[in-house]
């Protein structure tokens, strides 16, 4: 079967064979917001390296990289990123940019979470009203952030969730579609929300809380563990992302005049 596969791959990949490329495991939020479509052409023009983005939840993106199927991981879950590096799968975590999460809900606001800043208090109100809440439930960065928020609200969501808490196990977009169709509350990253079109009666209710800060980091997959990792090209991409060219490209990505991500590679401790 190997031979057979090789034959058809040779037959079909002639067009792609010459192309220099790296594979980046990233999150649905970055892909679906349109960020990559905005910044990658500039990188490819400069270096002739094609960046192939596979968009998954953050957890799946790490799994992919652990299996050796990606050269770079570009995600948003600092704790998981540091663990990934500590376990030796990644070389080093480098901060790139941030945006923030927003708490979205129906404009009628049945749980009366109001237009406040305190995200944890808002979640508490949703829980006590037993108002419908849609969770990603897919080990993504957004899911991880949501779980942390519940903990900060003093709620053990694993034990206290009821029929009102809908665990969808889906990407950001599908989860937003679900929330939109059932007028539920949901935690979303601002980028995906801004580019999301099927909003229905949903609107941003809570934003600006420090705890809603959403930092993105980039990691080169450890070439010692995964010898086929295209180290030079992948490093070139990472270097470009955190240098002026990349940072300016990220900052210039706007939807309806609103910037989706704020570059902060130079900021210490990000």
């Amino acid at each position: 079967m190997c031979g057979w596969l090789l034959t058809i791959s040779l037959l079909l990949s002639s067009a792609q064979a010459q192309q220099r490329f790296i594979t980046v495991a990233s999150t649905t939020s970055t892909e679906q917001s349109g960020l990559f479509g905005h910044i990658l052409p500039a990188f490819q023009k400069k270096t002739a390296i094609q960046v192939r983005v596979v968009a998954l939840g953050t957890g799946q993106a790490f799994d992919l990289a652990r299996r050796g199927d990606a050269d770079v991981v570009f995600v948003h879950a600092r704790g998981l990123e540091e663990k990934f590096v500590a376990e030796g799968h990644g070389v080093k975590r480098i901060p790139v940019m941030y945006n923030d999460f927003v708490l979205i809900g129906p404009q009628t606001d049945p749980a009366r979470i109001g237009r406040q800043r305190d995200a944890a208090a808002a979640l508490k109100a949703i829980e006590s009203a037993q108002a419908a809440f849609v969770s990603r439930g897919d080990r993504s960065g957004t899911h991880t952030a949501e779980l942390a928020l519940w903990a900060q609200a003093g709620i053990d969501i694993a034990k206290q969730k009821g029929a009102w808490y809908r665990d969808t196990g889906q990407g950001m977009g599908p989860a937003l579609n679900t929330a939109s169709s059932m007028d539920a509350y949901i935690l979303a990253d601002r980028g995906t929300w801004l580019s999301f079109k099927n909003r229905g009666a949903l609107a941003i209710l809570v934003q600006g809380d420090q705890r809603l800060f959403n930092q993105y980091g980039v990691i080169l997959v450890n070439p010692v563990r995964q010898p086929h990792v295209k180290q030079a090209d992948a490093q070139a991409f990472i270097d470009w992302l955190v240098a002026d060219d990349g940072q300016n490209a990220i900052g210039s990505f706007k939807i309806n005049g609103e910037a989706l991500f704020t570059p902060n590679a130079t900021q210490a401790g990000a």
Binding site: L5, I8, S9, T28, V54, R66, G68, G173, N177
Partner: protein, 234 residues
């Protein structure tokens, strides 16, 4: 239904505008699914014919298994192929993950049971009619299966189309093994899934209409060929 009417208009506009990106996606869809169907026929038609005319122990079990495999969930096939082609998997060193080749491989696995099971049925029915005559002429079972495949070529066309429909319509397998990479492995169905994720339901529906139109055109063409051929050959 207003949404559908609007989506149909959008679909027409997309096609008329001749968006290069859309045509690239449609082209890759066709390339992947047609290649998969071709390979599935190369494997599945002889397999189906051999089972139809063959007599061997466990034949009934093989038929039942083959029929059941027609319902193989694309996501499961996608996962299996992913685990095989992943760097950590047995064929990882070939670096085929997230390539059109991987997608063709996965769709081939999905389509082979359809082609084999349905052609087994068609060839077996014909074998009832032909087997005395063919054996009288001194034709071996092997020879008979090849003869019948050729003789039934127009009936088998319908099976090939069923296989193509399955390949072109599935999203679960190509999403996993292709990764839906923009410009590399993004096909019609994964684009539809992506636009749905972005909440752009009208665009997703319009793309769905384009997909149906492409499949419809292929089927119409095949139907005309089949009709003409049947009038000519009886």
């Amino acid at each position: 239904m207003n949404g559908l009417a609007a989506a149909t208009t959008d679909a027409l506009e997309l096609l008329i505008a001749g968006d290069a990106k859309l045509f690239g996606i449609v082209g890759l869809s066709l390339e992947v699914s047609l290649s998969a169907v071709f390979l599935a026929c190369v494997l599945g038609l002889p397999l189906g014919a051999a089972i139809a005319v063959g007599r061997f122990p466990g034949r009934r079990s093989v038929i039942v298994a083959l029929n059941a495999l027609m319902g193989l969930p694309p996501v499961v096939v996608g996962l299996l192929v992913y685990l095989m082609l992943s760097r950590a998997g047995p064929l990882g060193s070939m670096g085929l993950l997230f390539t059109p080749t991987a997608m063709i491989f996965a769709q081939t696995i999905l389509v082979v049971p359809i082609v084999a099971a349905l052609s087994r049925q068609v060839v077996e029915d014909a074998w009832q009619e032909f087997h005395e005559q063919l054996r009288s002429l001194g034709v071996t079972r092997m020879g008979a299966s090849i003869t019948l495949l050729w003789d039934l070529r127009f009936s088998l066309l319908t099976i090939v189309l069923a296989g193509f429909g399955r390949a072109a319509a599935e999203v679960g397998a190509v999403m996993i093994v292709g990764g839906n990479i923009d410009g590399v492995t993004r096909v019609m169905t994964t684009t539809i899934a992506l636009e749905t994720s972005k909440g752009d339901l009208p665009l997703a529906l319009a793309l769905g209409i384009v997909l149906v139109a492409v499949v419809l055109a292929l089927n119409a063409g095949a139907y005309v060929i089949k009709e003409a051929a049947e009038r000519r050959y009886g």
